[in-house]
Amino acid sequence: MNFLAPFAFLFAASIPVVVVFYLLKRKRVVKLVSSTLLWQKFLSETQASAPFQKLRKNWLLILQIILLIFAVLALSRPYFAAKAKPAELRVVILDTSASMEATDESPSRFEKARAEALKWVDGLAGSDQMVVLQAGANTEVKQSATSEKAALRRALQACVCSDGPTRLVPALRMAESLVRDQRNAEIHLFSDGAVPELSEFENKALPLVYHRVGKSSENLGIIALDVRSNPENAKERAVYVGVANYSTNDQQSELELLLDEKLIETRPITVASNETSPQVFKAQQDHDGVFTVRLTAKDDLAPDNQASIVSLLPKPVKVLLVTKGNRFLERALRAAPNVELATANDLTDTAAGFDFVVLDDVPPTVWPQGNVLAIHVVNTNWFESVTRIEGPGIVDWKTAHPVLRYVSFDNVPVAESLAVKTPNWGVSLLDAPQASLMVAGELGRQRIIWIGFDTLQSLWPYRVSFPMFVANAVDWLNPANAKNEQLIIKPGDPFRLALTHPEKGAVVIRPGGATTTIELDPNANEFVYGDTLKQGTYRVRLSTNEVTFCADLLDSAESNIKPRDELQLGKYTKVTATTMQRTNMELWRTIASIGLVVLMIEWWYYHRRTV
């Protein structure tokens, strides 16, 4: 047996009150009268001598009838569905991203949204169904389609808010597949609207109802964090911090830098409204550790007030350059910081002793196992087909990729090039019409940058972008850097760690000190840990070593907690926050309250007229 309103049992507390009323002894006033004869006759006449009597006007009777009417009305659980159209299927998406932890609503936006969603569960009509999706870093189906309110309520109660970013696209995609071909289906999104681009759904005509939560946007948050060697002093580390103020007023705070929980520096900062303040800390570091930056000012959103990053001391990068002679490339490689360069004319082994190999127009006898920068050489395992193009016109290049950061191909003519169709393991960085001239990607655990043309057959080495590309490529191909990138994740994302030898188990120490022991398959070559909903520093203890990784929000979209009145679906479509009430709004509570008032009036009237 289930109860729609179990809180109604609290009314049982009124039973003892009624009992107390009856326990109270009626205090009768003693009065001496001449004779009780008339009173006896009066009582015997007024007592029921016949089962029925003529109905007389009696206010007590009228009040009791009104009370009964209200009680019956309340028990019949009336509702009106005037403000919302009926829907046979409702897909409820509950946003559980970090911005929903904002406390501008009491106790939080997430709890408010959940309470609102629970009201919709209450208002579910008999055969209507509902689905509950939790949209955090990952989309989770908390409850498949059902009309059972208890299950839906349980599912909503089981939703947990994370410190991670909103990834609404998969949730909407799933919801769309659920409501497709359904008549009278609706998607109800309970969110503050701090969501990324949704242009995918521009022309889908989603039956989306957006329930907005949130009131204000008083937030100062850390949206960027990086640690590198100090370019001015290689012995020092530079910690780059981006602090954004999404409040309507300027905000002041203290920004603290800690290394392994030890305070190194405190800096007062003032950030103007809707501005981002970049901050650079310089710190000495003599061992691998975790830098933590922390904002001390109180605001509506806590998760973005702290961020951590694992800082591993740089080690020399051992590079093998296999070339017939390319001074531009060699000088560019030597110019890159911390590079120990070796050159060779040919490659006859797997070059196991090097961090990565540069193959400059020299096909190797044995392909290296490590990372490779391959220039004008083709490994047949990499591409399905290779063509040759004379004087290819470069039409596009991807500066968003770390390899082409700050690199431009303006005015770079190429004499001839190999061209490939972009393989599924990589992305095309440099495009000629209908072909790719440069591909970067990860094949297995091997990072590969492939360039189709001989650099000496172009003017690229004469351009400033060439050494920048080489420096970027060294960074990207350096296995240590790749490892560093793996040590910072978004809350909710899984942490992956390649295992060099079999492990039986691992102990994870979570932020706050709680430990979790995980058993591992001895044959597994990768350790995956998924319970990273809370931001902070996690430590994984394996049999031989310990790995530290950090989960950080670092998301300006989440830190900007201003509740959006509209959700933009692409350029031309938008969904306005609904003012729609839940359907089937039940009235029994109101009616029961009125009934209670009538009862009290009756009680008062009864006592008034006997006194």
Binding site: V29, T36, L37, L43, T46, R609, T610
Partner: protein
């Protein structure tokens, strides 16, 4: 003629009245009422043959002249009308504002005064009887007061003549009310004790749990011309106490719990009217004059209008 019960003005008006008796007086004492007895008066009644020894003064000489036979003229004997006033002096009569007992004594005084003015014999029968002194000693009754009331009760058993009116009033004033009355017993005994039937006035609230029928029946059966005046207090007609009450009967000590409010007033008054109606119908069925009055009623209204209209006196 000052007294505590009746104003001089009222007395003056009452002097004009005379108790109206439906039947001829049966008293053995001389009075001013016509009776079936033959005696000396101015009212001619009949003739009879002269027998030896008759008083010559009553011979009708004119008849002797015509018929030469001696006939004696007979005259109606005028006798007194015994008036018995049954006065309820129980505890229940001490209630009301003004007290029912005071009101009853005023009526008794008026009736007694009218009767005395008409040379009738008045007997006041207060009931219950005066209890032994030992019972009243605890209630602060002095021996003098006790004896005075005892004497008054004795004196009120037979009063005659207008000159006795002052004493009559004084004796009425000495009477006190208290104790538990048995109406039926008092009336039955009063009926038996009376040597001749006459006019009976019953002054009571008739709130006796044992009822009133046997007593009134005994009076009627004895030949009394009965007049009943039921006296109720205003509080008994329209109670002013509301709420949860524990009522204690002043005479029996019985307890009645009742929850009473204004909303039940009408029902109560219907009960009272039913009670009065039963008594009225009983009286009408036996030729008894019935009056009911609140102790707050104006005395003149009852005495000069209601009793006169009912031809108790005229």
């Amino acid at each position: 003629m000052p007294n505590a019960f009746l104003t001089p003005e009222l007395l003056r008006r009452l002097e004009q009245f005379q108790l109206l008796a439906a039947r001829r007086a049966k008293s053995s004492s001389k009075g001013e009422r016509r009776s079936r007895a033959r005696g000396q008066s101015v009212e001619f009644a009949d003739y009879r043959n002269y027998v030896h020894g008759d008083d010559f003064r009553y011979l009708d000489w004119n008849l002797y002249g015509r018929l030469e036979r001696l006939f004696l003229k007979l005259y109606e004997e005028e006798r007194e009308l015994p008036v018995r006033i049954f006065l309820d002096a129980s505890e229940s009569m001490t209630f009301g504002e003004p007290r029912k007992f005071d009101f009853a004594r005023q009526i008794a005084a008026a009736v007694g005064y009218v009767a005395l003015s008409g040379f009738d014999r008045v007997t006041v029968v207060p009931f219950p009887n005066q209890p032994p002194f030992s019972e009243l000693k605890d209630k602060g009754v002095t021996p003098q007061a006790y004896n005075m009331e005892l004497a008054a009760r004795g004196a009120l058993r037979s009063v005659r003549g207008k000159k006795s009116a002052i004493q009559f009033f004084q004796n009425l004033g000495v009477l006190t009310a208290g104790g538990t009355a048995n109406l039926n017993e008092a009336l039955r005994r009063g009926a038996l004790e009376a040597r001749q039937a006459g006019v009976a006035i019953v002054l009571s609230d008739f709130l006796d749990p044992a009822g009133y029928e046997p007593g009134l029946t005994a009076l009627v059966g004895r030949g009394f011309q009965v007049n009943v005046v039921q006296i109720l207090a205003p509080e008994e007609l329209s109670p002013t106490s509301f709420g949860d009450l524990r009522l204690v009967d002043s005479e029996t000590g019985g307890i009645q719990e009742v929850t009473f409010g204004r909303y039940r007033m009408k029902s109560y008054q219907v009960t009272v009217q039913n009670f009065l109606q039963r008594l009225r119908e009983y009286c009408q069925g036996r030729g008894i004059n019935f009056f009911t009055a609140s102790s707050a009623t104006a005395l003149e209204e009852l005495l000069l209008r209601q009793l006169r209209q009912a031809e108790v006196w005229g």
